[in-house]
Amino acid sequence: MGTTDTRAATVTDTVSDAPTTTAFHPPTPHPPEHVPADPSPDGLTVEPVPGRAREVVFEVTGLSVTYGAALAIDDVDLEVAANEITAFIGPSGCGKTTVLRCLNRMHDLTPGARVTGSVRYHGDDLYGAKVDAAEVRRRIGMVFQKPNPFPKSIYDNVAYGPRISREKGKLDDIVERALTRAALWDEVKDKLKKSAFALSGGQQQRLCIARALAVQPDVVLMDEPCSALDPIATSRIEDLMAELKRDYTIVIVTHNMQQAARVSDMTAFFTAELDEAGHRRGKLVEYDKTAAMFTSPSDSRTEGYITGRFG
């Protein structure tokens, strides 16, 4: 498809447009081929191996989130490597979506949410004083659980992000490229002016992916992107993720363990436990290569969950 080249060519545009308030380093160009993951001894840190170094995108340490007085997730440490798919799995209410939303500062929008601990993105503190949250979200895109296209045309949905950074002239190209990357172009190229709501659920979700890709992010966060879709639409999105990880870093929250096993390189298993006062709180139980996690989980709770037995 040659899409890798176009991506590489446009990264610099985004960087030159970036406001000076950001404290980020420009994202380094991604290696064209996926570098296989290396196992790490304790499953929680990623040790670079000479010659096959994994670039760390997110470095989360001691992350806790409280909503009002309730602690949603307690003391999470994990690292997310570039050009990999990292899956967050676990039962409902275990805080996996909460952790995901910390990675692009979506919690800023939630009244009462408080984030403590540190999230480093390419070495920079995401919650640093000088960091511009809008710029963070431009670099770190997000796809939501329920397809949420704007009540606008297909074209305007995809063009929404690029228009923010005022990329004029080549808008048509950006839209076509993003829709092509999201494997939707052939289905919609003749009806770009039609309302996005005329699309099926699976198409709407791919449109949301295209909309996220159109701003040329570095990372794509996906919050249960397939939970509202049928198996065929799900499989298309999974194929798409495998394709996208060559150029993007993907973090996905999923309830579907088969999906985590199929698509991800690394898996983090969260669970909810009751504290002394009887409040539910999320915890990261285990973080490892997906292959290892699903064949020989080191924690009995993980094993119970992935085998369908709860412990």
Binding site: M106, L109, N148, P151, R211
Partner: protein, 296 residues
């Protein structure tokens, strides 16, 4: 699965007759309530057309106010101009302010004490009788400037419209799903842009409806205008100099008259006001549809 167990449970169950009866009663009640609600509306519009249509002609619509209530000639030209000017000015004052206020309460002040306080004040203000608004403007503006004019009337009407616009804007913004806001923010859009490009276009039809309701109510108000706009027999196209008049004021004055010519003019003015508000409504709907299409 076998023929022996083939007793179907799809047939009538014991409570079925009662349930059907309840359903019929409910249906009849609802349709009946609708018809009863429609009767006064149809009677009012029908009777105003019946009494007013014969009065209306070009001379009536453009003519000056009759000096004597007994005079069969005379029109309501100055009152139409007055209503358009005063209601227009009130809309220009109240709608932008009210929409901005509603946006602040829901998008920026959400959860704060100040927002709750402003919302409470708006609710109280909605319940204030319209003549109190007139008195307020009379005391604060007319007595201080020592003149009655159309602008004072516009201020009184704006006070009346403002809380309605604030509250409907807030309610309409509440109906816009948070998913839409999150989708926009997740693309690196800032709050102001999210509101302008995503939230407001989605809420526009509802906000326009609310604003129209406020405009229609204000256009038909007599009490706030009675002692603040003064009076004129000839068309006064200035809001700031000289007295003015408006359709509701003309309806009020003429309907209270003992002379038949004046009473006819009241019916004519009433029909004119209804048609005018109807035209406002259609025009605003077209404008909002165009706005939404352009944004979408």
């Amino acid at each position: 699965m076998t023929a022996a167990t083939g007793v179907s449970h799809l047939g009538a169950s014991p409570g079925r007759g009662l349930r059907k009866a309840k359903s019929s009663i409910a249906t009849v009640t609802i349709v009946g309530a609708f018809v009863v609600a429609l009767i006064p509306l149809a009677l009012i519009i029908g009777y105003v057309i019946f009494r007013g249509a014969s009065v209306i002609n070009a001379d009536f619509l453009t003519g000056e106010i009759a000096y004597s209530p007994r005079s069969p000639s005379g029109g309501i030209g100055p009152a139409i101009v007055g209503t358009l000017l005063i209601t227009g000015a009130a809309t220009a004052l109240a709608v932008p302010l009210g929409v901005l206020g509603g946006i602040w309460i829901h998008e920026y002040g959400a959860g704060s004490r100040l927002a709750a306080f402003v919302r409470f004040l708006a609710d109280v203000m909605t319940g204030v009788p319209s003549i109190v608004m007139g008195l307020f403007i009379y005391t604060f503006i007319v007595l201080n400037t020592k003149q009655t004019n159309g602008f004072a009337g516009a201020l009184a009407l704006a006070c009346l419209m403002l809380p309605v616009v604030i509250r409907t804007t807030e309610e309409m913004l509440r109906l816009v799903p948070d998913e839409q806001r999150e989708a926009s923010m997740a693309l690196g859009s800032r709050k102001a842009r999210t509101i302008m490009r995503v939230v407001l276009p989605a809420a526009t039809p509802g906000i326009v409806s609310g604003a129209l309701l406020a405009v229609a109510r204000a256009a038909g108000e007599t009490a706030p205008l009675l002692f603040v706009i003064g009076f004129t027999f000839t068309t006064n196209s200035s809001l700031f100099t000289g007295g003015n008049t408006a359709l509701p004021v003309q309806i009020y004055g003429n309907a209270a008259s003992a002379f038949e010519a004046a009473q006819d003019r009241a019916w004519g003015a009433a029909l004119t006001l209804i048609v005018l508000v109807f035209l406002f409504t259609i025009a605003a709907r077209i404008v909002s549809a165009l706005f939404v299409r352009k944004q979408g």
